[in-house]
């Protein structure tokens, strides 16, 4: 069935003009004898041929079917979609950063190691923790680094223990990470204030608990106000306190997590430190560690010495260069992301980062105060950097949280995070970030009030049909999963 129209951009493969190429390469010199040992590819690969203008137009047209922070307000809760400064892009492209190889002699990359060391110092100062593993490639990877490091430290004491506790409001990556490190995951219920129930936590703590993984501010957008008691209870049974740093943007410059009793935390550089999300990566998830955990950090790490910086890439303890928690990633971490993050940090300074977290929290509270009578907030404020609504204001209207999200698309917005966290019904999690103006927020508030009023007025049909002004209307996800089509295939071949 041909379902494409003139408004659509065909697939690359449907634009194939065999023989065309968008790159002019010289004729290779002839070889008397190749070194392929008879393993020369037989037959074509099946890649399409296009000219450079074809390719530029293809991707320009695709980009116009996307929504980014540059396009408009993108209040996707828990994702910190703040402005991405372009200075970072320029700095990462300096030949001295872009055109260096991970296995150059260490003496020839002193500037790169200095950059990593400087970034590490900023992260340590901002969190108050004395060590940082830079190599994790993303938030979930950083969680893994943290829990593996904790496991290694416990193993050294003779018992890795059995359980990891995770609040029911946690990101899905937390239980998945703990399970991947060989732990049984136990959920800790929240209280009616949207926080972890200290009593429930204490009832679950015991000598077989390795760690608590907590997000703070939590995914309800609230500060865990009993955090010192939580930390004390966790430490009392000899367990470690892991903080999911996904929401660090609310705290940066104002709160040092070490002062809250935290032993380890990953930091999403692509959230708090404004490196581009890139359509889903690359990110970076450096993980700060306490003194007790630091010896178990994964390879590699930068050491500053009298004769400059060195890079510790291996130990002689075992043939596969394993320190207890080993190596997490090839090479030395997401270096290009480090450059961008440091460019942002230096631009903001300690004063700017503190202002940023303040403005992020103010923006979220402004949305809460302005919308609480039109939408429904399950928990009393103040909130931190994001604000959570549930769907009770939609009760009886026939309009769902998903419908609200799709209607926002027609109003020119990227929807908030929906149906997460799982602890409230029909969750709508809105994170404005500090890089949005009051004017943007006021217009957003007006739109949300109008949508809520329309829903309550019984206009469910128009919600059901949304979005109408998007490159695509609602897509059939069931069909996609039932009969997966994961690649283009030549019509001739099928």
């Amino acid at each position: 069935m041909d379902t494409t129209t003139l408004q659509d951009e065909p697939l690359l493969f449907e634009k194939d003009r065999p023989g065309l190429s968008g790159v002019d390469l010289p004729e290779p010199s002839p070889l008397l004898e190749d070194r392929l040992g008879g393993l020369r590819r037989r037959g074509p690969v099946g890649l399409p041929g296009l000219s450079e203008p074809d390719v530029i137009r293809h991707y320009t047209r695709l980009s116009q079917k996307n929504y980014g922070i540059d396009t408009g307000f993108y209040p996707l809760g828990s994702c910190t979609m703040k402005h991405n400064p372009r200075l970072g892009e320029a700095m990462a492209r300096l030949p001295g950063f872009a055109e260096i190889h991970p296995f150059q002699p260490v003496g020839s990359v002193q500037g790169a190691l200095e950059l990593m060391n400087t970034l590490a110092e900023w992260l340590k100062t901002l969190t108050g923790l004395p060590a940082v593993a830079l190599s994790p490639a993303a938030g979930a990877h950083g969680e893994w680094c943290g829990i593996m490091t904790i496991r290694a430290a416990l193993e050294k004491q003779g018992d890795p223990r059995r359980r990891v506790l995770v609040p029911d409001s946690a990101h899905g990556t937390n239980p998945a990470t703990a399970a991947r490190c060989g732990y049984a995951v136990e959920s800790v219920p929240g209280n009616d204030q949207g926080r972890v129930s200290l009593a429930s936590l204490k009832a679950r703590l015991g000598g077989d608990v390795a760690a608590l993984m907590l997000t703070n501010p939590n995914t309800c957008g609230l500060f865990e106000d009993e955090i010192l008691e939580i930390a004390a209870a966790v430490h009392a049974v000899g367990a470690y306190f892991y903080l999911d740093g996904a929401n660090f943007n609310a705290l940066v410059g104002r709160v040092r997590v070490a002062d809250l009793g935290v032993d380890a935390m990953h930091i999403n550089l692509h959230k708090t430190f404004a490196t581009p999300h890139g359509g889903g990566g690359p990110g970076a998830g450096p993980t700060v560690l306490s003194q007790a955990l630091a010896p178990f950090a994964p390879l590699p790490f930068v050491v500053s010495g009298a004769k400059g910086f060195t890079l510790v890439e291996s130990t002689h303890r075992s043939p596969d260069e394993s320190v207890p928690s080993g190596r997490l990633k090839g090479f030395h971490g997401q270096f290009g992301v480090f450059v961008r993050a440091l460019a942002y940090m230096m631009s903001m300074g300690g004063d700017g980062l503190r202002q940023a977290s303040g403005d992020a929290v103010l923006n979220a509270n402004y949305l809460l105060a302005s919308l609480k009578d039109d939408l429904s907030a399950p928990f009393a404020g103040p909130c931190m950097h994001e604000v959570l609504f549930d769907d009770s204001f939609l009760k009886g209207t026939g309009v769902t949280t998903l419908d609200m999200a799709k209607a926002m698309i027609d109003e020119g917005y990227h929807p908030m995070t929906v149906y997460f966290p799982l602890v409230v019904h029909g969750a709508m999690l809105i994170e404005p970030t500090e890089t949005e103006s009051k004017d943007t927020l006021d217009r957003f508030i007006a739109t949300m009030k109008t949508l809520a009023a329309r829903a309550k007025a019984g206009d469910s049909e128009s919600f059901r049909l949304a979005p109408r002004h998007a490159p695509r209307r609602r897509l059939d996800e069931t069909r996609a999963a039932r009969t997966p089509v994961l690649r283009w295939k030549s019509p001739v071949a099928t």
């Binding site: 070194r35 990462a92 055109e99 359509g279 080993g326 090479f331 009051k438």
Partner: protein, 444 residues
Amino acid sequence: MRFLPLTESDRAAMLAAVGVPSVESLFAEVPVNAPPLALPDHQGELEVSRALTAMAARNLNAATAPCFLGCGVYRRHTPAAVDAMIQRGEFLTAYTPYQPEISQGTLQYLFEFQTQVALITGMEVANASMYDGATACAEAVAMACRITGRKRVMLSGNLHPHYRAVTATTARYFGGELDKLPPDPIGIEDLIGRIHGDTACVVVQNPGFFGHLKDYSALATACHEVGALLVVAVTDPVSLGLVVPPGDMGADIVVGEGQGLAGPMSFGGPGLGLFATRERFVRQIPGRLVGETVDVDGRRGWVLTLATREQHIRREKATSNICTNSGLMALTFTIHLALLGETGFARLAQINHVAAVTLARRLAQVRGVRVVPSTYFNEFAVTLPKSAKVVADGLAARGILGGVPASRFYPQFPELEDVLLVAATETNTAVDMDMLVHALEDML
């Protein structure tokens, strides 16, 4: 502060609307406030740029130094159109396509990327990418253990040591028992003879870490006879433009590093993990997948699919804890490959091979230098009459990035002390090669 759009009067009006006297009062629940932090204050672009440019200047970079380094990261010319396209804000500043109606750009390019990866590896399906080649390798081993219900994993001595190390880290926690063969510069290890009835998978790299190109068809057959899977790693995607792909040899999972078509070396990160497999394993694939469907008007479109494998649905029962992929790197890769096309891809691979053959021939004429593998693509091991590390450091002191000493990865193997890994790509000129050869003649 140029990224912060609130004015003081905005803040005052907003605080009044919230009903609190100050921003600080919104943090009243925080029990311990930070003391003044020892950090510099905010700076303008010029000042930041000056400081970072000074750091960059302390690196010997391949824009000026002839570079023959490989080991999983390659210097390539990236067409200017690629960088122009990936910096479009609609791509750069979007996130994971959770709202498909306004993410069709990302979803369509990932669908095209999945198709390209499947085609070049000779496999049936590919995912939307992973962090890098090493983590993709570890995920493949975990997947093979899930599929076979077995724990025993054989890692070739020709597999990149970082891929081995990351796989070892991962396997420790899911109970994988690794049979790690020692580094194999000569290329003579016997893998088939070590396969057991309880082997979950065998992991090889082609071309291998020391350069050897091999036909792994017989190994694939031997694996399949006992119900094991063959995982093949590819550390330079350009090799697939010239060499028989792992899929044609019978591989069950192909993993790789896509950096060779995804922009600059950037000190090794970010990378681009490639992951391809057979259609029958599709529900065991880790990471994001994009699938085709239609919208309510019947128009073709794309969505993230088979999410029931993933952590946000399955939580502790997920196939992986991976949340995002490496979207922007996948975009870089897919645009580069779209520009090359069938003819450009094959030609680029041939140019790389010719460069390596030319370089090997010249190096073999330097006194004391021996080229080790008889077959290779664009990278090969050489033995030197003295410590490879000393030679590599000496070359760098002369402004030449001449190769990677194997001892950097295997300090505990004295027999590798004289082994240097040398790569050539289309970026190496005859002048570069002259400089390397003359420097070696001088030093050896």
